[in-house]
């Protein structure tokens, strides 16, 4: 179903061809050549060694996306139910922290999570740590929060949560109230209204949010290094290491990122397919 504004996509397509496709092609060429400029497949051969890193990255990114969705959806929903003034302020306030520098924010989180950090001090003063010690019979002075996979997930959730909230919020805002009323009038309880009407109709926003959280999470690098303590290497670190590490092997880096990209694209296509199908089913 084409309509009269489809020509607007033409300039964008040209732009993408230049600034997205050409650089990707350059990288693709890199991934199949060696430092001497010869065509080779060896960059892909050793990829199996990094399977652990691939699995870890995707696993942590999925976890972070789920947490974001679980927190972000209700927040977006509640926000959309508030008054206009509240909404305007809330929307800006959700984005504002992200305008402070990323490294500064992450350092802040580090001092919150450190062994003698704010959280552990809080736990100590409310007696949580001694309670834990008496229950389990252990003898710890602090909980190891920083430099764990959990801290990495927290960092990703912190950084990308707004990206989940905003698109969901802007979709829920647009929901037709008469649909909800109709469902209620037809006898649906509030759980069913949510499950059968609100949730399917807000799916486009959820899909956008999931994309914007999941996709950058997979390739994130500094978060895992700083909050994960560098012992939980992720794809972003692995790739960065090829470009900015001592060995300087952009060919291998390009190959890893090509493989990563293919996997992400497959994930996205599957998800979008599923999403669009769902939406149409509801519309019918």
């Amino acid at each position: 179903m084409k309509n009269k504004l489809s020509w607007l996509s033409i300039p964008f397509t040209i732009w993408m061809a230049i600034f997205v496709v050409v650089p990707i092609l350059i990288m693709a060429v890199y991934s199949v050549t060696s430092a001497d400029g010869l065509v080779t497949g060896e960059n892909f051969v050793g990829m199996g060694d990094y399977a652990v890193v691939f699995v870890r990255s995707f696993w942590l990114a999925i976890l972070a996306t789920l947490v974001c969705l679980l927190i972000g959806y209700p927040v977006a929903y509640m926000m959309a139910k508030e008054g206009q003034g509240f909404q305007r302020v809330a929307m800006a306030l959700i984005m504002l922290p992200m305008w402070m520098n990323f490294l500064l924010r992450t350092y802040s989180w580090m001092s919150i999570l450190e062994n003698n950090g704010l959280l552990n001090q809080l736990f100590r003063s409310i007696g949580l740590i001694s309670l834990y010690n008496s229950v389990t019979g252990s003898n710890i002075e602090y909980f190891q929060l920083l430099r764990t996979p959990g801290a990495v997930v927290l960092g990703m959730v912190y950084n990308y949560l707004p990206f989940m909230i905003l698109p969901i919020y802007s979709v829920i805002l647009k929901l037709d109230n008469s649909l909800l009323e109709a469902a209620q009038d037809l006898g649906a309880n509030s759980v069913n209204v949510f499950r059968k009407v609100i949730l399917p109709l807000s799916l486009p926003g959820v899909l956008s949010g999931v994309t914007m959280v999941f996709v950058p999470s997979v390739s994130t690098f500094a978060i895992s290094r700083l909050l994960g303590g560098g012992t939980q290497m992720m794809l972003g670190d692995l790739i960065e290491n090829q470009f900015l590490g001592g060995a300087y092997n952009p060919h291998l880096g390009a190959a890893i990122s090509m493989v990563m990209m293919v996997i992400v694209v497959v994930c996205m296509v599957v998800m979008n397919h599923f999403g669009e199908g769902e939406e149409q089913a509801v519309m019918l």
């Binding site: 607007l8 997205v20 650089p23 992200m98 990206f163 979709v171 303590g229 560098g230 296509v269």
Partner: protein, 670 residues
């Protein structure tokens, strides 16, 4: 019931805000810290705000950041919105394909996007150069510039390129919700496409546009990797400057500037909200049929604007704003190009910035000062052709690597008379045996920093790094060369060995300790806050940086292990075919002077290679601060010769060995 739900909702939103703002509050609090730590509170002070005003590098970076981010946001929001409308008017299959391509910049690791953009621009500049030469030879009316360089323009293009996908992803869902027939109906009824856009589409998708713009701005402000590779040598954003500081430490000046920006944005929000609320009340009044009170001026203005004549005024205003903006941008570039310039790339927090002003005043040469975070980043930047710096300040082993690849220019030492002031110990070093390319900048040593309240023995050996006694309390230095180099030294081998078995043995030592849980983590500059806050017992880092930590935590102690350690020299070099070689030599000469060395030594707390400055420093310190310099501290900064005799300097390893290091390092992280 309903009331309860609302309360619950507010509580949830409140918690979410607490989560979002907790680190921000901490960051703001530490901008008022009297000390330079971001972990230890030393009392209230406005010191960093004062420093900020004098810090030209950061102020310029803020201006660049705002300019680039705002422009990129504005352009990508408009472009992205129209693109989204176009995409959602297409059939589903084509749309899905295009949307997938749209997501690529988002899913690519930043470094890959950055490097590929850089290669792309370099390739384009090459083609352009050929074209311009041909074109100039054909005719004589128009002289095209043949040599394009990266700068604000390429930076902006890159930012727009990675912002657009986010805008599309935000506008998209709203478009999907919209009935497509509305647009067709409007246009069938005689609307132009512009009218259809303003009257039908825009009101429907406005929230999506707003959130898209917000996210685009966020991405722009935060990005540093892509910016590094597309900004060229004379443009630096705040995020780049901050990341460049991570070779040493991020100064609280950055907290101060962030706090100010935060408060300004907050103020704008409040004002905007009050204004909107007032407008809303007026709308309600209108709806209620009550006369609206408006100040006569506002009424007049709004009348003129909405009258037919107002159209010209609106267009005129927009045109004037654009013109002013363009003139500013152009004059900014023109200003930098009409003056003699030198492009310097160094490490963050590695110079007393007063020196830059002083040099500019004395010579009239403008200094474009950029920073990166490591030798390897610098190398990668140079390799991709992303930057045409004149002066760089790499470390010893990187200098030999650059020399091996013929990337450095011979210096004309007649232009650098201050080279004579350099101590003979720091001339003719292995990385530059004939001393034709380099002038030393600083030198220093690596040692063990430990918390004396957590360690009850005398530390004099690297063995403590691998000791179960300190399980979970040791910080491993976060780069392969240092981590394995130290292990090699402990095992009694050379830090520069190329023997695979020795290196593997060193790896086993580190990996085994890692398996036993001795290491809390790998750290680079985070070592400052972790050690200052008393969160780890033992770390390895640079002697000069130990002194910074000592200021914030008196329990910290320092030791050079008996097995010996690494000592380094960072030296200034000029890159091959540097466009401003004479200016570069003037800069090098200036920095090599005794005064500059004293100022730098005092600022960085790394030792000076200038003989006079090194000897004079305690005296100079007493004059400056009215208190004598502790001899022990002086000895830690400037390691005595008997310590240096035990130390080894890194040399450039052959590619196979570097690859082995990298492979083992990755294995350690898996």
């Amino acid at each position: 019931m309903k009331k309860n739900g609302r309360l619950g909702g507010r509580l949830l939103i409140g918690l979410c805000f607490l989560f979002l703002y907790l680190p921000i509050f901490l960051l703001i609090i530490f901008s008022f810290n009297a000390g330079n730590s971001s972990a230890v509170w030393q009392g209230f002070s406005l010191k960093w705000y004062g420093d900020l005003l004098e810090n030209r590098l950061i102020m310029e970076a803020v201006a660049t950041t705002l300019l680039v981010s705002l422009l990129a946001t504005a352009i990508s929001t408009v472009a992205g919105t129209f693109a989204a409308i176009g995409l959602y008017s297409l059939g589903r299959r084509r749309r899905e394909v295009l949307l997938t391509v749209n997501n690529i910049p988002m899913m690519n690791a930043d470094i890959v996007t950055g490097v590929s953009m850089c290669l792309f621009f370099v390739a384009f500049f090459g083609l352009w150069g050929g074209f311009a030469e041909w074109f100039n030879a054909q005719q004589s009316f128009l002289e095209l510039p043949t040599r394009l360089t990266m700068g604000m323009g390429t930076l902006l293009l890159a930012h727009i390129a990675f912002d657009i996908p986010y805008v599309i992803l935000n506008v998209g869902p709203r478009l999907r919700q919209m009935d497509k027939n509305l647009v067709d109906a409007a246009m069938d009824l005689g609307c132009t496409w512009m009218q259809a856009f303003w009257k039908v589409i825009l009101p429907e998708i406005k929230p999506g546009i707003v959130s898209g713009a917000l996210i685009a701005f966020t991405m722009s402000v935060d990005d540093f990797v892509i910016s590094y590779f597309t900004a060229g040598s004379s443009t630096q954003t705040l995020a780049m400057a901050i990341y460049g500081m991570t070779k040493k430490r991020v100064t609280p000046v950055v907290n101060a500037v962030s706090t100010i920006l935060f408060l300004v944005v907050l103020a704008v929000l409040v004002i905007n909200n009050v204004r909107e609320a007032r407008l809303e009340r007026q709308r309600e009044l209108i709806a209620a049929g009550q006369p609206v009170r408006q100040s006569p001026i506002v009424e007049k203005v709004s009348q003129t604007l909405s009258s037919p004549k107002g159209k010209y005024i609106r267009w005129g205003g927009a045109f004037a704003a654009t013109a002013v903006f363009l003139v500013t941008v152009i004059s900014l570039t023109a200003f930098t190009s009409s003056q003699p310039v030198v492009n310097v790339c160094s490490w963050g927090e590695y110079i007393d910035t007063d020196l830059i002003d002083q040099f500019e005043e004395e010579t009239g040469i403008r200094v474009n000062y950029q920073t990166t975070d490591s030798n390897e980043t610098l190398y990668s930047l140079l390799k991709s052709g992303g930057a045409d710096y004149d002066v760089v300040v790499p470390s010893d082993y990187m200098i030999s690597q650059l020399l091996e690849e013929d990337m450095l220019e011979e210096l004309d030492y007649d232009n650098i008379p201050n080279f004579d002031l350099i101590d003979d110990r720091f001339k003719y070093l292995p990385y530059d045996p004939e001393n034709k390319y380099t002038v030393p900048y600083t030198w220093g040593t690596v040692g063990i920093i430990y918390n004396s309240t957590m360690v009850d023995e005398e530390i004099d050996s690297w063995s403590c790094l691998y000791d179960d006694k300190y399980a979970g309390k040791v910080l491993l230095i976060g780069n392969s060369r240092d981590a394995f180099g130290i292990a090699l030294k402990y095992l009694g081998y050379s830090m520069n060995t190329t023997d695979e078995n020795e290196i593997r043995e060193a790896y086993e030592l580190v990996a085994d300790a890692n398996r036993r849980g001795v290491f809390q983590g790998k750290v680079m500059d985070e070592v400052f806050q972790t050690m200052e806050g008393g969160n780890a017992a033992i770390a390895t880092y640079y002697a000069g940086d130990y002194l910074t930590m000592l200021e914030n935590n008196e329990d910290l102690a320092f030791a050079w292990p008996k097995e010996g350690t690494n000592w380094f020299v960072d030296a200034m070099c000029v890159l091959k075919d540097a466009p401003h070689k004479e200016e570069a030599e003037a800069w090098i000469n200036f920095i090599a002077s005794t005064d500059a060395n004293l100022a730098n030594m005092d600022f960085i707390w790394y030792a000076s290679p200038n003989k006079e400055a090194l000897e004079m420093y305690p005296e100079w310190y007493e004059e400056q601060y009215d208190e004598p310099l502790d001899e022990e501290i002086y000895n830690i900064i400037a390691a005595p010769q008997e310590v240096l005799d035990r130390c080894e300097m890194y040399v450039c390893l052959p590619p196979e060995t570097r690859a082995l290091y990298n492979e083992l390092w990755v294995q350690l992280g898996i």
